[in-house]
């Protein structure tokens, strides 16, 4: 991996407002993504991972912040505030795979129309070229091209997800946001789709933002992992190091929930107290403090910034304290 930065997400925030209730779905999310790598984004339901993905791909509009996209010809552009001409040129570079393979395909269009729709808006290909491109991409994602004239209702979940992948891939994007791309599928199908995604990544040097709540999948596929809690980044670092030695107390609790396939390994589970607070009324200071066993006075008042510790980004005032305490206890 050449560590060439492709995407810089800076202070991305998203606020939903309805009838006087403000919900901060994302607060100042910052991360950089290198070309060709897979960044896993994990966290429990409602932590903002899907919102993050959708804001980056501009499926929804972020409230503030930047998504800096490093292009070869035009240097760095802010994807969120791109001009019409820039959008026309670079829209195709950031695409998305959706979680629900049933809801994300228009049931009234044939598979061919679904797959080729992006081409119609982004290229000037003629009918024959579009057909050839669709055939090629169908073959690549493992769809029988004889089935292209069928409608989505003729396909199973795994096949539908392949259709979704073909649609996001046909524009040859640089970055793909995989929003829970395999969560809705059977385990055996999950493996097939993950292998497919990995093969495609190798072939096209794709960059993935891999959003998932399935930690084992994230561990397998990601180069780096971003952990989110209630709209904020709590920890970001290399996958192996992060799984080996989580630094943030929330990450510790989250990782200890991963089931172990080996029955001989006894696990020490960190069980969190209480519920996830509502994002409409988040706690003061560090969002995690009401459930944290190591909280101090400062945690209740000030939100900790995301700071680098040994090549890892952690947002905690007492970074390392919990690990030290655990070691002491042993």
């Amino acid at each position: 991996m050449d560590n060439k930065v492709i995407l810089e997400i800076k202070n991305l925030s998203k606020v939903y407002e309805s009838k006087g209730i403000r919900v901060k779905a994302l607060t100042d999310v910052t991360l950089t993504v290198n070309q060709g790598e897979t960044v896993g984004i994990v966290g429990e339901s409602g932590c903002g991972k899907t919102t993050l993905g959708r804001c980056v791909a501009r499926g929804i509009e972020a409230t503030s912040g930047q998504v800096l996209f490093h292009t070869e010809e035009d240097g760095v552009i802010d994807f969120l505030k791109a001009t019409k001409a820039q959008m026309k040129k670079y829209r195709r570079d950031i695409q998305m795979i959706f979680q629900d393979p049933y809801a994300s395909l228009d049931p009234r269009m044939t598979v061919f129309d679904i797959i080729s729709e992006p081409l119609r808006y982004n290229t000037k290909m003629n009918k024959r070229q579009i057909e050839q491109a669709a055939d090629r991409i169908a073959e690549q994602v493992g769809l029988n091209k004889a089935y292209l004239r069928r409608y989505p209702h003729a396909f199973s979940g795994g096949q539908r997800q392949r259709i979704g992948i073909a649609r996001s891939l046909i524009l040859q994007p640089k970055v793909i946001v995989c929003d829970e791309a395999v969560s809705a599928l059977d385990v055996s199908i999950q493996a097939q789709i993950i292998n497919l995604l990995e093969d495609l990544q190798k072939e096209y040097n794709l960059t993935y933002l891999f959003i998932s709540h399935a930690l084992s999948v994230v561990k397998h596929i990601s180069d780096r992992v971003l952990v989110m809690y209630l709209g904020r980044v709590v920890e970001f670092g290399e996958t192996d190091a992060l799984f080996e030695n989580p630094m943030h107390p929330y990450t510790k609790a989250l990782l200890s929930a991963v089931p172990q396939p080996d029955p001989d390994v006894t696990m020490k589970r960190v069980v969190l107290q209480g519920e996830v607070p509502s994002p409409a009324a988040p706690p003061s200071g560090c969002h995690f403090h009401p459930r944290c066993a190591y909280k101090t006075e400062r945690c209740t008042q000030e939100a900790p910034p995301l700071e680098e510790h040994d090549g890892r980004f952690v947002a905690c005032w007492n970074c390392g304290v919990c690990s030290a305490k655990e070691k002491g206890a042993e």
Binding site: R54, A57, R58, G59, I60, K88, R91, R92, Q95, M96, F98, Q99, D100, A103, S104, L105, D106, P107, R108, T110, E117, P118, Y121, N122, Y147, R149, R150, Y151, H153, A154, G164, R167, L171
Partner: protein, 369 residues
């Protein structure tokens, strides 16, 4: 094996509309209703040809005459369909005028005959003609549903009335569709204060009691208008009152489909907003709009009938089912001339058929559920 495979393939390649058709076809009652409506509309369109008389023909000698009996055998001998001549008589008890068959006169029913004077019409408003589907020779009379108090053939009037009563709703529905679509899409797609304003207008329109509102609006129609103009005004009135339902459906569909994943997928793939609306959003609820429109037709038929019954719509000699029913609003008419209520059967059948068809369409409307 090969048979099932062929069937599966047909299913896999089936578009939304063919899936809907498969489902609709299985709804027996809806299919029967559809056929009935097809027959009714065909008859109404060919009304001038099928009806033996025109709207302005009458015969003072045959007032309140009961339905004519059609015979096949004369004194045990088969001679095909015919009617006997009619003679006026007095009921010995009530002294009312009654008609008795004169078995010495035989008038065979003839097909494709030239009608009497006054029965002229133009095919599709263009080619003048006086050809009628059936009739009897000079001197004989055939009144399938009897006659009214002016000696007009009720069968002809029911058919010619259908032209008004079955087409006002269609035109009214189209106007409703235009109004409802525009208001509903504005409210649903733009949202915000536009939505609020339209919602309040809908609530105001819906909270008016219908009949008094109809009466007020009809009172505004000048009495001197020609039937065709009255017709237009009536459709306008009916659609002004019935658009809110459709507008609400369209609005809610817009709001719900806006959040669908495939809409976001289209946006991410670079589709411009207009394309998203026309290619993804509107097709997703076209079927619901069709259902809604079908279900709104019975209301419009009843509306036309009610208006005319109240004497606020068309007036004789212009004919609609409402006009025909309005003429029966005396107790003695119902007591002595029950055949005058035949138009009611047709109102009933049509409304019922539309409801059944709408039912079938609703079940078929979303084949993906």
């Amino acid at each position: 094996m090969a048979e099932t495979k062929k069937r599966d393939n047909k299913y896999y390649y089936a578009s939304q509309w063919s899936l809907m058709w498969r489902k609709f076809r299985r709804h027996k009652l809806a299919m029967a209703a559809t056929w009935l409506l097809l027959v009714f509309y065909t008859v109404a369109i060919l009304g001038n040809f099928i009806a033996p008389q025109g709207t302005e023909q009458y015969d003072g000698n045959y007032v309140n005459c009961g339905p004519t009996k059609i015979h096949w055998f004369h004194e045990g001998e088969f001679i095909g369909p015919f009617v006997y001549g009619l003679e006026v008589d007095r009921d010995p008890e009530t002294l009312m005028r009654i008609f008795v068959e004169d078995e010495s006169q035989i008038y065979p029913i003839r097909f494709f005959v030239q009608g009497d004077e006054g029965g002229e019409y133009k095919w599709f408003g263009l080619i003048p003609s006086n050809l009628h589907l059936f009739g009897v020779d000079e001197g004989g009379k055939i009144f399938l549903f009897g006659t009214d108090s002016m000696g007009r053939d009720l069968f002809s009037r029911v058919i010619l009335g259908a032209q008004i009563s079955m087409f006002i709703p269609i035109v009214g529905m189209l106007l409703t569709l235009v109004l409802g679509l525009i208001m509903g899409s504005l409210a649903g797609y733009i949202g915000g204060w536009v939505d609020t304003v339209i919602q309040r207008i809908i609530e105001v329109v819906r909270s008016f009691p219908q009949v008094p509102l109809w009466m007020a609006l009809s009172a505004a129609i000048p009495k001197t208008l020609k039937p065709a103009q009255v017709f237009m005004m009536m459709t306008l009135i009916l659609s002004l009152i019935s658009w809110p339902d459709l507008a609400r459906t369209v609005r809610s569909k817009f709001i719900s489909v806006k959040k669908e994943d495939y809409i976001m997928a289209a946006r991410i793939s670079g589709a411009p907003p207009l394309k998203i609306v026309t290619k993804h959003m509107i097709p997703s609820f076209t079927s619901y709009i069709i259902v809604n429109m079908t279900m709104s037709i019975p209301g419009l038929i009843m509306g036309e009938t009610t208006l005319s019954f109240l004497g606020l719509g068309l007036r004789s000699p212009a004919t609609s089912w409402g006009v025909l029913l309005q003429e029966t609003n005396k107790l003695e008419t119902i007591m002595f001339y029950p055949w005058r209520l035949i138009p009611m059967i047709f109102v009933f059948l049509t409304v019922l058929a539309f409801n059944f068809m709408g039912d079938g369409l609703r079940d078929a409307a979303d084949p993906y559920k």
